[in-house]
Structure formats: C-alpha cells, structure tokens
C-alpha cells in the first residue's frame, strides 16, 4: 500500500478511522517508503526506501514507530 494518500494524509495509524474490513489481521506492511511488521500492538520499522531515514518516515506516519535494531535500507536482488 502507499504510505500516505495522494494529498499526504497518513494511512498508517494508531487507530483506523474508516470502517474495518477485518480486525487484527495484518502482520506485514510494505509501502512505497518502508517495510514494517505489526506485532504486539506496535509497528516495527524494519526497512526504509533509499534516501529515507526513520525520522522522515515517522513524520508521515501517524502511529508511533518502533525502530528495529537491524533497520536497513531496502535492497533488491
């Protein structure tokens, strides 16, 4: 999914505001700037897109992010 809407509104939230499709179901989120795991009521930032750092990602994320010990840049191949 995209990390924000087209106008920059965060989509990764403390609590969804739209009607839920399903509760407690998502464990991995891949966005256009980050890879995150959701576990135990927190969002773990595991990887960032090239050029982004954790502070920049947090700035466009409404929910608080927990930074993984092994936070790394997304690499392909």
């Amino acid at each position: 999914m995209h990390h924000t809407t087209g106008d920059g509104t965060p989509k990764i939230l403390t609590r969804c505001t739209l009607p839920l499709t399903a509760p407690h179901c998502v464990s991995r989120v891949v966005t256009d700037i980050a890879v995150m795991d959701i576990e135990d009521g927190r969002i773990l930032l595991r990887a960032h897109a090239p050029g982004w750092d954790a502070d920049q990602i947090q700035a466009v994320t409404e929910a608080p992010l927990v930074i993984a010990d092994d936070l790394h840049e997304i690499a392909l191949g």
Partner: protein
C-alpha cells in the same frame, strides 16, 4: 507530498513477492497487490488464486485484444492462462479461502493501525474497491500482508 523518492509499484511488488515460498497459494487483491502477478520469475512455482475461481494463472495481459475476456482476476483484469491452471466455481473458490487452503493474501490497504486492523474498502461510488473477498481472505489465509 514531500520527501525523497518513493518506490515504484513494481519494486514494492518485488519486495512482497520475495516472501513467497515455492508451492504457496497466493491471493492478490485489487490495486498494488496485483502487481505481484507481473514480477514472479517463471521458475518459481507460486500458484496465484483469484476469488473469481482461478488457480495457477500468470501475469495480467495489458493488451486486451489478446485476452480471453472470461479469464479474469479481481478488477476484471484479464490474466494469462498457464498449463495446469484450474478453473473452479465461486463457491469452491471461497471454500478454498475459508477452509484455510491459502498460504498468503496480499491485501490492498486504505488504513492499517497498530493492532493490525485493516480498512480497505470504499463504500461509496466505486464498483471496485468495495469489500469483496477481503474479510474472508484476512482470516482464511495463513499469512497476510498489505
């Protein structure tokens, strides 16, 4: 929207798809998730499932003049027929989902929160983007990402 460059949907799909294991049955939702159908290396044996009743299909066909209009995944997108693929009825397709026979569901997301709650439907206006099979997929599949 400011900030450094964002990943192209194809790259996002590659990140998601590299988590797939050979032999996995994978359902791809409308929107960004279905990009995954186009980035699977042919040597991988990933069985793509669509709630419309397809199992084991290939990439989305961009040129609709080459497409079989009866072989479509969600979003009415025509897909490539592959040897060995299976056609099934809608009820059998949902029996696969509800019976726990899907390994991975890649769901589109409008909002996700810290509890793993997912909102991915727009209830007004659009025929596509409504709830569809998402609630079933969110519980039926062994692994869920979005």
């Amino acid at each position: 929207v400011t900030g450094p460059e964002r990943l192209h949907p194809t790259v996002m799909a590659m990140i998601v798809a590299r988590e797939f294991q050979d032999g996995d049955v994978v359902n791809l939702g409308i929107g960004l998730p279905l990009e995954c159908a186009n980035v699977l290396p042919p040597e991988r044996e990933i069985l793509l499932h669509s709630e419309l009743g397809l199992l084991g299909f290939g990439p989305v066909i961009e040129d609709h003049t080459l497409a079989d209009p009866y072989v479509t995944m969600v979003g009415n997108l025509p897909v490539t027929k592959l040897p060995g693929m299976v056609f099934m009825s809608h009820d059998e397709s949902f029996a696969m989902i509800r019976g726990g026979h899907l390994d991975v569901a890649v769901l589109g997301g409008l909002q996700v929160d810290v509890e793993g709650n997912l909102a991915n439907a727009q209830f007004e206006g659009k025929p596509a983007g409504n709830l569809g099979g998402a609630p079933d997929l969110a519980y039926g599949a062994k692994r869920r990402s979005c």
